[in-house]
Symmetry: C2
Subunit: 319 residues, 2 copies
């Protein structure tokens, strides 16, 4: 393969930075990983430069795509805001391009993952697709007409921050009743802690798991116990699934996609959540009976999605 | 002007059918209007053919764009469903092309109006825009990357049928709590009737207007009395405006447009509703402070928007 067709993808997460050399077919040829050096933006940049330099020895002209949680401007040049890192209106692309001597493109991590599912994963061949990254919150990507839609200011796809319950649970975004307060890992954790703390007899598995410390219940724990058959945790997952379906129906009312792909840590850990969510979506879609349903599918690329998508986006001509 | 640059736009409404000859600059050169012949789909088609034939004498090769309430498939060929007319899975484009000997394109009426605002109206020069048609319900159009986004099955933009209040007011779509049950002309009418029927002393203007018959209160009446300064009706409009703003914030969270244009009968009749809606949107947008606000603007093209947009869409190469 000509080295210039390769691209380097970097996925900056809250705990680790993963990088890989990605082929035009979405295969990852080389892979490196480092711990994220805390909240220190300069140290994070140095780690990205180190990983790209190591991987890039085999592909001296490969473009670099960097995905991270947060908001990038619509041209992929500037980090407007990042929840885990100290970037604010940071011209990260120019800084990395100077340091690397390569073309760099920044993307939101959920956008990158969704683009990867569109190009190489569960939504191959479908030009009208949405991808949900279901984890502690709900991130999103929108592909319409075969193009990633970043929005006017680069921050499209914040699916999790649709208000679904006016006056409902407080969200970290400052609002109340955001969808991700009802259908995410954080939602499962909150409900699990409430149940475990209530001395309800149905919460015995959660209490056993945490030695009676209700505050130690996590969304992952609820998900795992539910998949193992615990009735109380299954109820919590089913409730989250109903909310998941309602939000999917809202997205379909607005965007009418052909497929909605669900990935992320929670998405891959809980097939039940997605099953319940799909059934609820089909009961909630406005106009059901007069229109086709979008397909609901599990993501296929797993934890590689972010770096694969970031790399592939870096190969596109700049818009 | 070369005749082949003209296009003919037809806007099929529940009570009237309007048609016009539209220039590439969006000017309407000729204009005709008929009453909609009831729910008889064949009679509606005959009226469309009559209007196009009359207008088309000056432009024998002009393409024809037809906008109507309802769902068209994504290629603009087939009417999937129309709420006011008897079309169900009707290959209307082929029927009209056979009858007219011209190229025909079908569009949802809110899509057509939004496209017109993008091309010639309040959203000129903004490639990332949404348009709300605020009337008895809430229709919508989505333009991203300068392209009208019809969705995978042609039914994108059903903004009014986002669930905003789970378990809330019943909607004609079969669901509960749709946005348009809170921020539309129907919502104002329902609340006005409830207020007028409650013998509340604040409802005296509504009772005077209807000679005491609360069931005769309409959304238009509430809007008119509010704009004239009646305090109770102003409160109802302000309440609807709060809901309007919340829904706008949800759309912005998902789509991140540069501008949201608000048209339709209610949109043009109630500047107050839009003012309150804009303020509420700015208080509700997720991430406010870290991202720019989309501009909120009133539509500029008025009742011509539907036929102008339908005509202009008919000029585009078929996708």
């Amino acid at each position: 393969m000509p080295a210039e067709e390769l691209a380097i993808g970097v996925d900056i997460g809250g705990t680790k930075i993963a990088a890989g050399l990605v082929t035009p077919e979405g295969k990852v040829l080389g892979r490196l990983r480092r711990s994220t050096p805390g909240h220190d933006a300069r140290a994070v940049e140095a780690t990205v430069v180190e990983l790209v330099t190591l991987l890039g020895a085999r592909a001296p002209r490969a473009a670099v795509g960097v995905g991270a949680a947060g908001w990038m401007d619509s041209t992929g040049s500037t980090v407007l805001f990042s929840p885990h890192l100290a970037w604010r209106n940071e011209p990260l692309r120019a800084r990395l391009e100077d340091a690397l001597g390569r073309s760099v493109m920044l993307s939101n991590d959920a956008d990158a993952a969704g683009w990867a599912e569109h190009r190489f994963g569960a939504a191959r061949g479908e030009n009208e697709m949405l991808c949900l990254t279901l984890g502690t919150g709900i991130g999103g990507a929108i592909v319409l007409g075969g193009k990633l839609q970043r929005g006017r200011f680069g921050v499209a796809g914040e699916f999790g921050h649709q208000t679904l319950v006016p006056g409902g649970h407080r969200c970290a975004c400052g609002n109340r009743g955001c969808w991700e307060q009802y259908a995410s890992g954080n939602a499962l954790g909150r409900e699990g802690r409430a149940l475990a703390g209530s001395n309800s007899p149905v919460a015995h598995a959660l209490r056993a798991e945490t030695n009676g410390d209700a505050s130690a219940v996590t969304g992952e724990m609820v998900t795992r116990l539910a998949e193992a058959g615990d009735p109380a945790c299954s109820d919590l997952v089913a409730e989250a699934g109903e909310w998941l379906g309602l939000g999917l129906a809202n997205l379909a009312a607005v965007l009418d996609p052909g497929i909605m792909v669900i990935g992320g840590g929670l998405g891959s850990a809980s097939p039940t959540l997605i099953e319940v969510g799909e059934a609820a979506y089909k009961k909630a879609l406005s106009g059901r009976g007069y229109r086709p349903f979008a397909k609901i599918a599990r993501a296929e690329l797993g934890p590689d999605a972010g770096l694969v998508g970031a790399a592939d986006l870096a190969r596109l001509p700049r818009g």
